[in-house]
Symmetry: C2
């Protein structure tokens, strides 16, 4: 009952409820370089970003796929705004479920990025 159900006639998207978020799913989502990159940009910006804001080295189809995986694993929340689809980290939910995990993950990603010199 807690899962966000799309309102009839609208363009809402199905998200897992707070307590439906599984650690394995989050780790799986973040284990992909493309998705980790998306999450890092989202965290760096701190606010909502449209899908088209990301300039990923894959086609739009694949980008849609990755955003869907992130949403279905509970990492991001997606909402339509006109023709754009806005993406935001579910920081509150993740911090409540797994305190410190997201920050540790982002710090680890930043550290590795600095170490490997790729950004």
């Amino acid at each position: 009952m807690t899962a966000t159900v799309p309102a009839p006639g609208s363009r809402a998207l199905p998200h897992p409820a707070h307590e439906e978020i599984r650690l394995e799913g989050v780790l799986h989502a973040l284990a992909d370089p493309m998705r980790l990159r998306i999450v890092r940009e989202l965290a760096a910006d701190g606010d909502e970003l449209s899908c088209s804001h990301f300039d990923l080295p894959v086609t739009k189809s694949t980008t849609t796929h990755h955003f869907r995986v992130l949403r279905e694993s509970g990492v991001i929340r997606q909402t339509y705004r006109g023709t754009a689809k806005m993406n935001a980290l579910r920081r509150d939910d993740l911090d409540d479920l797994f305190p410190g995990l997201l920050d540790a993950l982002l710090a680890a990603a930043a550290r590795q990025s600095a170490r490997l010199g790729s950004g």
Copy 2:
């Protein structure tokens, strides 16, 4: 050159060097329930454990596979001791590369376990 190379004639196992450990690989390794379970047991025990110590609901072949993934991703270190193969968390390497990550991950797993498994 830093990767541990198996000595000729011995039974040493190839491990990724400290700086070869990649965050995505670690996350991928830990995204599997069976492997997460192994790592949790390893962390709980705090010392080396033989493969046969684990009573996983899969065959021995599959168990071997999971331990290999954990080793090749840099999460555990494996050494032979007689006929047994001992497994230990690479805590030092992981804590140095990704400070706080392993603890956050283990805490998250424990939290979820308490929340879902009711035990």
